[in-house]
């Protein structure tokens, strides 16, 4: 299927993509347009992030739909790879090669001349802080070292587009901070376009404000992160309150304007309160508890996780 003409300013233009592996659906009528800059792809495990990247890189082809990457179709288009650097989330370094041998192979496959290649390798391993381990076999690297070497391989040929699939996984907090700073620098100082994926929203938030949420193979929301947060805030929050004297508290809560509903759970000492303004609720709760003369032993929100956000966004 010939992909429709996409806007030249779009990095990725995916329209109605579907990809399935037998009975398992990887992408389901997936549509997304990504502009230049840093874009975060956020989704829980198994949501289709890696499948999307494999389609972008031409490693697999979609069953239905079309996609262009930098204006070209990626399937069977090896020329496109000179403009893309990919850091996969899985272990992919050849275990019997040293870091240097691995980077030399990548560089030569990207037509880099020997002297320029040596210089570039030195520069890149300095950036990812792998100079000391460069001549060790990659099979002996720690998880964080492997991650850094993969990023080095992705950066080596100075691509226009960097695709980083869960680059922070397996790294310690210090390395995470360095990686995040590196990613921001690569965009700001070197004008690389970057697509980075994670299942942790706040990590992406530290790198970029431009995100796309993916859930069960579908793009459920995309845009500025603050707009998505507002979406979350507009949907009623469910909060569980447990304790003694909750009947009196329930009566008082029903009079509050931001309370949508109050329901008793299986045990009469447990309430589920649905509120439209969680901030007002939490601010006013101590006074209400005092008025009801009840004791609250436990309280928690059911919506403080990505899963709940996705469930809301997909209308479940």
């Amino acid at each position: 299927m010939t992909p429709p003409a996409s806007s030249p300013s779009l990095i990725i233009d995916a329209r109605a993509l579907s990809k399935w592996y037998g009975q398992v659906i990887g992408l389901n009528n997936f549509s997304l347009q990504i502009s230049p800059g840093i874009t975060g792809i956020v989704g829980p495990n198994g949501s289709g992030k890696s499948t999307l990247f494999k389609v972008i890189l031409g490693l697999i082809k979609p069953n239905v739909g079309s996609i262009t990457v930098l204006g070209k179709s990626p399937w069977r288009n090896s020329d496109l790879h000179s403009s893309i650097g990919f850091c996969p989330d899985y272990e992919s370094l050849p275990v019997d090669s040293t870091g240097r041998e691995y980077l030399t192979l990548i560089g030569k496959l990207h037509m880099m001349e020997s002297s320029a290649l040596s210089k570039r390798i030195k520069e890149i391993v300095g950036i990812v802080e792998m100079s000391k381990a460069l001549d060790r076999k990659t099979g002996g690297y720690s998880k964080g070292m492997k991650q850094r070497m993969k990023i080095a391989g992705a950066l080596l040929h100075d691509p226009d587009l960097l695709i980083l699939d869960e680059p922070l996984s397996g790294t310690d907090p210090l390395v995470r901070k360095d990686m995040i700073d590196l990613i921001k620098r690569l965009n700001k100082e070197h004008s690389h376009n970057i697509i980075v994926s994670s299942h942790v929203l706040f990590e992406i938030e530290r790198m970029t404000h431009n995100v796309a949420l993916i859930y069960r193979g579908r793009a459920v929301a995309s845009g500025d992160i603050s707009e998505i947060r507002n979406l979350i805030d507009r949907h009623p929050h469910n909060i569980i309150i447990e304790g003694d004297g909750t009947l009196a508290l329930a009566k008082i809560l029903l009079d509050q304007g931001y309370v949508v509903s109050v329901a008793f759970n299986d045990s009469k000492s447990s309430l589920t309160v649905q509120v439209t303004k969680p901030d007002d609720f939490f601010n006013g709760l101590p006074a209400l508890v005092d008025m009801a003369r009840c004791s609250v032993t436990n309280m928690y929100s059911l919506d403080d996780n990505l899963e709940a956000v996705f469930k809301y966004l997909v209308g479940r």
Partner: protein, 252 residues
């Protein structure tokens, strides 16, 4: 198509794969096979009363039609398949080199390493057997013929097993089926059915080139030149077929 990029890319991959084959654990298989052949042929040589014929038959049975396809299978079935399974193929598949050319970058070192290994094994076997007999001229003729045969066979079998490794998830099992059941059984049946095996054409070449042993006396040989053309055609077919499969393969 940027020819320079193709040449540089294929060269880089060839060097990488050659190092992997020569410096990997599988090189011990070559050493073990060589020692084994030396021991077997050395003993046979010490007992032999008709060296030319018996030596030729041993080379035929042991090296040409047993160890050569097995070595090609062991090396060829794992070269690309191991990289697909451990996902290190990602870096090749995301390089700016058409996968069909990447495939050639895998095939060339495979064929060269297998043929060099088999030439070593053949040389060791020849020395172990004929070194005990003074058959200078004849032995040299037999040696040269078998070196050429194992080289041709290595290139053809490597092309076959590399293509099989892209096609099947468990290429070793299919390779075993092909090498022992197909070639061992079908290749031994009388009549035209045995033409459906690489073994038949190699044997036909050997029948024309070697002047001793059962291979020389084999009465079902095809024309030597025709067999050479068929083998070349098969090699080219398997390379193109494997390259096509690799290009179309989804690397999930």
């Amino acid at each position: 198509m940027d020819l320079k990029r193709v040449i540089v890319g294929v060269s880089a991959l060839t060097v990488h794969s050659t190092k992997k084959l020569l410096l990997g654990k599988k090189v011990f298989i070559t050493i073990l096979v060589a020692l084994f052949v030396a021991a077997v042929m050395g003993y046979a040589g010490s007992q032999s009363r008709d060296p030319a014929n018996e030596g030729t038959n041993l080379m035929d049975v042991l090296i040409l039609f047993f160890f050569m396809p097995v070595m090609a299978m062991i090396f060829g079935s794992s070269l690309i398949r191991d990289e697909i399974d451990d996902k290190s193929i990602t870096h090749i598949a995301t390089a700016p080199l058409d996968r069909a050319f990447s495939y050639v970058g895998y095939y060339l070192p495979l064929a060269i390493v297998v043929s060099v290994s088999m030439v070593i094994v053949t040389s060791v076997g020849m020395v172990a057997f004929f070194g005990q007999h003074s058959h200078g001229g004849d032995a040299l003729d037999i040696y040269i013929a078998f070196v050429v045969l194992v080289t041709i066979g290595s290139f053809v079998y490597s092309a076959l097993f590399l293509a099989i490794s892209v096609l099947f998830a468990k290429p070793v099992l299919f390779g075993l089926f092909y090498a022992f059941i197909w070639e061992g059984f079908i290749g031994s049946l009388p009549g035209a059915i045995q033409n459906a095996s690489i073994k038949h054409y190699l044997r036909s070449l050997g029948s024309g080139w070697v002047d001793s042993g059962d291979i020389h006396a084999w009465n079902q040989a095809s024309d030597a030149w025709g067999s050479g053309v068929v083998l070349l055609g098969l090699m080219i077919f398997f390379i193109f077929f494997g390259a096509y499969l690799f290009r179309e393969k989804e690397l999930a």
